[in-house]
């Protein structure tokens, strides 16, 4: 139940982010100066922290989604709790590595 709720919550967050991201991409239409000014802003620690938060949402939603797809097709139904924990540990490790990479820029 918690995993299901987590998938819904991260899903809603990612839909909101998708449309914010598409809105930001409109700066590409406004030309080089508008886009490059945004890029300079997006390299600030605040935005990099948001990037890590975004990646956390993607990893939770994506890895949990793999579990949901597997169980939806009847695979690993009996071990889905263990599978969820294993996938979240993999996600946490990947997030830690990615966060270090993001803040190295």
């Amino acid at each position: 139940m918690w995993a299901y709720a987590l998938n819904r919550i991260t899903g809603i967050g990612l839909v909101v982010y998708l449309y914010l991201h598409l809105g930001v991409l409109s700066m590409l239409i406004r030309g080089q100066s508008a886009w490059d000014a945004f890029v300079a802003l997006a390299r600030s620690p605040f935005y990099l922290t948001l990037d890590v938060l975004l990646l956390a949402g993607i990893l939770i939603h994506g890895l949990n989604g793999i579990r949901l797809a597997l169980t939806g097709f009847g695979f690993s139904v009996g071990i889905q709790k263990s599978l969820f924990i294993i996938l979240m540990i993999i996600g946490a490790i990947f997030l830690g590595i990615a966060a270090l990479k993001i803040f190295q820029v």
Binding site: L18, L22, L28, W35, G62, I102, V105
Partner: protein, 120 residues
């Protein structure tokens, strides 16, 4: 005999299968998008000149369009599934599905326009 929870109605089955198919596509396409645009790119983001050069590569352009279609379809099917959890009538469900389809078309159209402005 095990029961198929999706066998009762054909429409949710199709929507769910699309959700899974686009989800699998996203694992690959989003992975490539994140690596190419945020991990390999100097400073974590491409400047304007780099975005233009990147999207003018035909293979990349096709992959980014596929990514746009996949992410939009997956996102809007997800929104639909959340609304369906509230137990909508058939009529409201039909209207919702139609509205979300149009939002999807407009979203992909908008993305294609942005790409066109970048590569022209």
């Amino acid at each position: 005999m095990s029961e198929n929870p999706f066998a009762e109605e054909s429409k949710p089955t199709v929507a769910w299968l699309w959700q899974v198919a686009t989800g699998i596509g996203l694992v690959v396409l989003l992975g490539l998008h994140m690596i190419a645009n945020h991990f390999i790119a100097k400073g974590g983001l491409r400047d304007y000149a780099a975005v233009v050069a990147y999207l003018r590569n035909p293979t990349i352009l096709v992959l980014e369009i596929l990514f746009l279609v996949c992410v939009t379809t997956h996102a809007l099917l997800g929104v639909r599934a959340i609304f369906l959890d509230f137990g909508l009538s058939d009529r409201v469900e039909q209207i919702l599905t139609r509205v979300l389809k149009w939002i999807g078309v407009l979203t992909v159209g908008y993305g294609l326009v942005v790409m066109w402005f970048v590569i022209r």
